[in-house]
Symmetry: C2
Subunit: 325 residues, 2 copies
């Protein structure tokens, strides 16, 4: 089923010239060597999409980087496969690629984030090196969570969480609730900071403790995960880290953080930035049924209503908003 059999126009949700636009006349991508043509089946809205629409990274183009798709053109071994896709498209030759860290490729583009079209469109042309086949045991709904679950799993790559550690997660949004499930499986003593009744109830159902930030003891946590998505979340989270403890930083946003780094020096704290993680492990965990993704779906919209879906995703406390193609 080659591209030529499709229309040359497609639907797409783009951010251009400072505006979100739902277009029906976006050119269907032309395949470059090494690329597969993906027909998007389902996509999810991420906090980063909201930040991009506020000017983060100066992005212009089709948004979207959480998706499940079918390969409709490309190498014969890929066509017909149901896939998830890595969002970092590596050059394969720079020092980071050679050292097996392609997600940090010096010359990468990033799907729907940085100089690469995204998945909020009927079709996406993506480097075949970025594709991961999905086993049948993973539903389309669950498959949309492969990318954010991989990002959540990077916590376990960034620092060694011991079963005896006290861990506090500050920021129980879409990504936070995936990280909570990942960290809970280490056996660590996990507390998630949340003010929201519905989030507290969900955590309770998962057997995970929740608390208000002001009720937590200062400087007692071995590991704090900061995922508030806001500059003013930093110091409150760092106040929880014990001396020589670790803070994982997951928040990206426009602007600078006024941070008390002198406290980090005095208490000899480690701050570790964390972005993308291992897709293979995320697919294994979803296939094994170890992660509850259904409870994280807040709403579903047909792709034609993508602008309304975007509005929905900006509501305080909104969890995953799905786009059905």
């Amino acid at each position: 089923m080659a591209l030529r059999e499709h229309t040359l126009m497609m639907r797409a949700l783009a951010y251009r010239e400072g505006q979100l636009q739902f277009r029906e006349d976006e050119p269907t991508p032309v395949l470059q060597p090494g690329q597969a043509l993906l027909k998007i089946r389902k996509a999810g809205l991420c906090h980063t999409d909201l930040e991009l629409s506020r000017g983060y990274l100066g992005f212009s183009g089709v948004l979207g980087h959480e998706f499940v798709a079918e390969v409709v053109d490309g190498s014969p071994e890929w066509v017909g496969k149901r896939v998830a896709g890595e969002i970092n498209v590596p050059c394969g030759t720079c020092d980071m690629c050679r050292h097996d860290v392609p997600s940090q490729c010096r010359n990468r583009t990033t799907v729907g984030i940085d100089r690469h079209p995204g998945a909020f469109a009927d079709y996406l042309a993506l480097d075949e090196r970025c594709l991961h086949v999905l086993p049948d045991t993973i539903s389309d709904d669950a498959a949309v969570f492969v990318e954010p679950l991989a990002a959540a799993l990077h916590i376990l790559e960034a620092t060694h969480i011991l079963p005896g550690h006290r861990v506090v997660l500050v920021g129980a949004g879409k990504l936070g609730l995936l990280m909570a499930q990942v960290v809970a499986q280490t056996g660590a003593d996990l507390t998630v900071v949340s003010r929201r009744d519905s989030t507290q109830a969900l955590l309770k159902r998962w057997g995970i403790a929740s608390a208000l930030l002001e009720d937590l003891p200062l400087a007692q946590a071995d590991v704090v995960i900061e995922s508030t998505g806001a500059a003013d979340g930093f110091d409150g989270a760092m106040a929880l880290v014990k001396p020589r403890g670790t803070m994982i930083m997951k928040s990206t946003f426009v602007g600078l953080t006024p941070a008390n780094l002198t406290k980090a020096v005095i208490d000899e704290i480690r701050l570790i930035g964390s972005r993308c993680g291992p897709f293979d492990a995320a697919i294994r965990m979803l296939a094994n049924g170890r992660i509850d993704t259904q409870s994280l779906i807040d709403a579903r919209y047909p792709f034609a209503d993508a602008l309304a879906a975007f509005e929905h995703a900006q509501r305080p406390g909104a969890l995953k908003v799905m786009l059905d193609f």
Copy 2:
């Protein structure tokens, strides 16, 4: 030689009520259980002393935490010994003490920095657990560097610097030039950022490369050590760290740092605060002659001229200013 044989008044350089004061009527300390009485032989001025005199930590009292002294009262096994002293006085019972990190004791006081009188005085009463005997091969001059050299050595505890690593040290002050000598001994490819001709010449004599910040390639260093002592040094230093690289933070100062932590997240950088280090190792390195401390002495003042010494230490580029008792 008990305290009672000395005068009950002594000389001291104190910071009180927002002012540096040289006093001749400071009460000589009264020994508490477990303490030794130290007669200070020599002391050094540190960047932290300057920060404390700008309101850092709200300190009030006798300054000074780099010194060599003779024990003149206390347990018989200590009296007569020439010693250096740890600056963190631990409680011995909290979780950090029990986990063998007494420098991060929850209830510590810190000599000349936090609720403990300092060494810019004729006498200092200090917990005997803080004392380290100095071998005769370490001169009084060199012994004053035990505390800052220990702090420099903490870099090697905070992160594992490999012989193949590229390391950049930003901030070639008193502490920076000790760190440079420590890092150079790992075999790593070290560059020290300095604009000062005299510093560049000294580094050259030690076989260490120097460069201007703007001439260094961005995002190429495995490890960057930030020791500028100023908030605005942070982002320039972080720009040098490669993806997944490490930045050691050594600067303490009054106020917040406007930091681009989103960059740390995207590049998955580790920021590690570093303060105090191992005295035993510092004493070994000085005894072995592995560290050039003589070249770091900028000026010597008799203690009676401590206020002039303090002025001298604030000159741009001033290295170690010594107080001779």
